[in-house]
């Protein structure tokens, strides 16, 4: 009997983890990644909350495991269409090639919210308005500086940019931005102890283990200012600083603050391709556009098609640990399924 094959679409942490787990289950996985390297969004990240672990320390072992176990990997493979029936799945790429398997795990992740859509925050208009991803890249490169190369002495971090914002077309919570904001505030203070950091938030959603502690530490040890209220608008000043207008909703008064740099914590959005793939496969997406599992419990990685599985942020915003664990769950379910085939 030929080995059962499962195609994993997406080579981020969830996809790689799923592929490795499938291999361990004795199934033949195949990994398709659209980028030229494996690792997904984490490749752009510096350190991870709440432990401060380098993103590379999570990605590298997975990449090594993929190559050591000889998992077939297609890089620069942009999926154009997923077709198939209840017994097989065919994944077609934009270069014309196609791959067939008994099942597939969709681990296509998320898109970052395009901050320029919230034009009032001035991303792309004022040089010292950056996103949380830009800031991570600065941390990675070791040069956290303003556009003119100078060191920031005051930074405003704005939570919920493209999250819980129906006007921006994204009503859901992206879950990880709150703790990212805390982490980045601390990192800024570690780098520049004299820098004033202001986090503007709606609610602080510290759901994970160690998050609340980190939030307390940011306030007590690092003296990060947390202000409840969204920024209404940013504008540039003559000396290229950023004037932030907000309302301090706890104090009940409008607030104006001029800072050297503003960081927008951009949210996680469902890729537009989700809806397309879902309709091709006859599976469901939620109202927020992410893939919908068969249920919220044991069936979180199952879909209405018995040979299609979903894992990672493809089903909704998650942190790295959650994504990796869901990938293992999906791999086990997928392996059970293909092994059960005659």
């Amino acid at each position: 009997m030929a080995a059962k094959r499962v195609i994993v679409i997406g080579g981020g942490v969830a996809g790689m983890q799923a592929a490795v787990a499938l291999k361990k289950q004795g199934v033949t996985p195949m990994l398709i990644e659209r980028d030229i390297t494996l690792g997904g969004k984490l490749c752009r990240w510096d350190r991870l909350f709440p432990s401060g672990t380098r993103a590379g320390e999570v990605v590298s072992p997975l990449v090594e495991a993929i190559s050591e176990t000889g998992i077939r990997t297609v890089l620069c493979g942009e999926v154009s269409e997923i077709v198939g029936d209840d017994s097989r799945v065919e994944v077609m790429l934009t270069d014309g090639s196609s791959y067939e398997a008994e099942a597939a795990i969709i681990a296509t992740g998320f898109d970052l919210f395009d901050a320029s859509l919230k034009e009032e925050y001035g991303y792309g208009i004022y040089p010292n308005v950056v996103t949380s991803v830009d800031l991570e890249e600065m941390f990675r490169s070791g040069a956290v500086v303003r556009a003119d190369g100078s060191e920031p002495r005051s930074v405003a971090i704005l939570h919920c940019v493209g999250s819980r914002d129906r006007q921006a077309g994204c009503g859901h919570c992206s879950r990880v931005c709150c703790i990212t904001g805390v982490k980045q505030a601390i990192e800024l203070k570690q780098l520049y102890p004299g820098c004033n950091v202001y986090n503007f938030y709606m609610d602080m959603r510290m759901f994970g283990s160690g998050y609340e502690e980190l939030y307390k530490e940011a306030q007590e040890r690092y003296r990060v200012n947390f202000i409840r209220g969204r920024i209404s608008e940013c504008s540039g000043t003559m000396d290229s600083r950023v004037l932030v207008k907000a309302e301090d909703t706890l104090a009940g008064r409008p607030l104006r603050l001029t800072v050297d740099m503003t960081v927008l914590l951009v949210g996680k959005q469902a890729p537009a391709s989700n809806a397309k793939f879902a309709s091709e496969l006859g599976i469901c997406v939620s109202s927020d556009g992410f893939f919908k599992g068969a249920d919220c419990f044991d069936g979180a990685t199952l879909t209405s098609r018995r040979n299609i599985f979903v894992a990672g942020t493809a089903t909704g915003p998650k942190n790295v640990g959650e994504s990796m664990n869901e990938a293992v769950a999906a791999a086990i379910k997928a392996a059970e399924y293909v092994k059960g085939l005659a």
Binding site: L117, E119, E120, G122, I125, Y126, R166, Q167, A168, G169, S232, E233, C234, S235, G236, L243, P254, R256
Partner: protein, 599 residues
């Protein structure tokens, strides 16, 4: 002794006429006498101007009888309204003339000419027999058209026609009976007396052939009674039905020509306008809320209907984009948006407890230039517009002072449209002070919402008020801003407040034509669609707004243009959410075309 020509069958008709005219007279007196002092002054000065009165008479003739405005919107609908209104008018006029000529006296009781054939079955006055038959046929053709419209509005290209009240249905039933009964009554008359022209005469000959001649006088008597009853019934139901418009539209036209206007704080002129709505339903189809199936009973016709009957609910008044699409096609020219605002103001009794004391703490520095630029609240949320204006100013060598760069006050229009007039007035007053004190002589704004408010409500000591598209067009015309026509194509979206609101259609097109290729969408200028972002609607959720915007964007995408260009920050925000095509403000388009770097 004067001959009164009394016959019992005219009693229903006479009762109808007396009731109608006494009710209408009472209404007129109450409307006119309760008009504000300023409106009455306007009336007094207008009524002695021959040109104004002649103009109003001419307009009344055109619109109440010939319905020319309906003709511009819908040809078939025009025929229906004109054949009924003008046809009936001619029937009355020629009937009167015939009676006067026949009786050789200028004073003929009204019922004598209405029931002329009954009184004088043998009368022959020149070609009148033929003319009256032809006119009756004309009116009957309009009646057939009306029946078709009621049951098949699609024949008239209408998706929906108006839902009627009980009074409307009563009046409509009576109206529909009047002319067929007149035809029958006159034809039976012809059957008995062997008279009548091509219509009544031929039909009469048929009756004479088919029915026993002894029965004819009885049927004839019954029919004339029925005709009289249907007329009487119609007249009595006029004041409680939409047909009140027949009598309200003429004074409306006169008062309007005397420059009396509706106010956001309702006056009796508002009542008169309300009464002048014929519920023709022309306002229903242009409404995007109706087209998108979002609300089917909040259109202007229904607001006015409810308001006349028992007072509209606040929810109904609030459910409107106030895009002005209905107002631009209203054949009666009713000030629909102002009336809706007045209803909101009246129903929204509880004034906001918000403390506007902060307005006095807002200050703007002294102007650094005679030309001030005001971004407004929505403009603050689209900073690329002001940034582009800064770049354009530098390139043109003009000095612009950015008024609300540090802080500013809302123009007040959102509050005004919500009916919170007192709050809007407070903002207006403080802004007037700030603008006038600053010493500018030209106020440019990129926000049509602000501009309309400045122009319509503010008193700014002669400060020139321009939309930024007009300002840019002037710079180009004066040769201060050199541009070359590029390869890019632009599809221009007319913002409601700028187009229908202020009539500014050409300047943005001139500007875009100077820098690239201008594309027109299917519905543009005064027919342009609302982006769905309107501040005026107080209950739409984002999904509904996006649905409206998606419909608009589809029209734009069909042009294949590189950019969707608008000149309102609100439209830019709404449209950019719903299309893959880039949506930019006209200032951004100009900045791109002149290739200036960020200032």
């Amino acid at each position: 002794m004067v001959n009164l020509y009394f016959e019992p069958f005219i009693i229903p008709f006479i009762v109808g006429v007396v009731v109608l005219f006494s009710v209408m007279w009472t209404k007129f007196i109450s409307w006119i006498s309760a008009l504000p002092q300023s409106d009455r002054r306007m009336m007094r000065s207008g009524i002695f101007s021959v040109a104004t009165v002649v103009g109003a008479l001419w307009e009344a003739f055109r619109e109440c009888l010939l319905h020319l405005k309906i003709g511009r919107v819908n040809g078939r609908l025009w025929y229906m309204h004109t054949s009924l209104a003008f046809g009936w008018f001619l029937l009355i006029a020629f009937g009167k003339a015939e009676a006067i000529l026949y009786l050789k006296t200028p004073v003929v009781p009204i019922y004598v000419d209405v029931f002329f054939r009954k009184y004088f079955p043998f009368a022959h006055v020149g070609a009148f027999g033929f003319i009256m038959d032809a006119l009756l046929l004309f009116v009957l053709s309009g009646l057939v058209a009306a029946v078709v419209k009621r049951f098949r509005p699609s024949v008239y290209g209408m998706r929906r026609t108006t839902d009627h009240t009980l009074g409307d249905k009563l009046a409509l039933s009576a109206l529909w009976c009047i002319f067929p009964l007149r035809l029958l009554a006159e034809s039976f008359n012809s059957a008995i007396y062997d008279s009548g022209s091509f219509l009544t005469g031929s039909l009469g000959a048929l009756w004479a052939l088919l029915l026993p001649s002894r029965s004819l006088p009885y049927i004839n008597e019954v029919l004339w009674w029925c005709y009289s009853v249907s007329l009487g019934l119609f007249f009595v139901s006029v004041p409680i039905s939409r047909y009140l418009h027949i009598f309200a539209e003429i004074p409306l036209i006169f008062l309007r020509s005397f420059k009396v206007r509706a106010s956001v704080r309702a006056t009796t002129f508002t009542k008169l306008q309300r009464a002048a709505c014929s519920r023709c339903g022309i306002c229903i189809d242009p409404c995007q809320l109706s087209a998108e199936g979002i609300s089917l009973d909040t259109q202007s016709v229904y607001l006015l209907r409810d308001e006349r009957a028992k007072g509209a609910t606040l929810a109904k008044a609030d459910s409107c984009l106030m895009c002005g699409r209905c107002q631009s096609v209203c054949p009666v020219g009713i000030e629909l948006d102002v009336i809706r605002t007045s209803v909101r103001h009246d129903r929204r009794k509880a004034t906001s407890s918000f403390d506007y004391g902060y307005l006095d703490t807002v200050h703007v520095p002294l102007a650094t230039s005679k030309v001030g630029f005001f971004s407004g609240c929505m403009g603050r949320l689209t900073p690329s517009v002001a940034a582009s204006m800064r770049a354009i100013a530098i390139r043109s060598g003009v000095d612009i002072w950015f008024i609300d760069e540090a802080e500013g006050i809302c123009c007040g229009r959102p509050q005004r449209m919500a009916g919170n007039l007192d709050a809007a007035d407070r903002m207006r007053e403080r802004n007037e002070e700030l603008f006038v004190e600053s010493g500018i002589d030209t106020l440019v704004t990129s926000c049509p919402i602000c501009l309309r408010t400045f122009r319509e409500d503010y008193h700014l000591n002669g400060i020139r008020l321009l939309h930024h598209s007009q300002f840019i067009a002037e710079l180009m015309e004066q040769g201060r801003l050199d541009v070359e026509r590029g390869a890019a194509s632009f599809a221009y979206h007319d913002p409601c407040e700028l187009g229908r609101g202020l009539g500014i259609y050409d300047e943005p097109r001139v500007v875009l034509g100077n820098i690239g290729r201008l594309e027109e969408v299917a519905r543009s200028r005064d027919k342009a669609l609302c982006c769905g972002g309107s501040l005026a609607h107080l209950g739409l959720d984002m999904a509904q707004r996006d649905r409206i915007a998606a419909g608009v964007c589809a029209e734009f995408e069909a042009t294949g243009a590189d950019f969707i260009v608008t000149s309102c920050p609100m439209c830019k925000k709404s449209l950019s959410r719903s299309t893959e095509t880039r949506v930019i403000d006209i200032a951004e388009a100009v900045k791109m075309a002149v290739g200036v770097e960020e200032a």
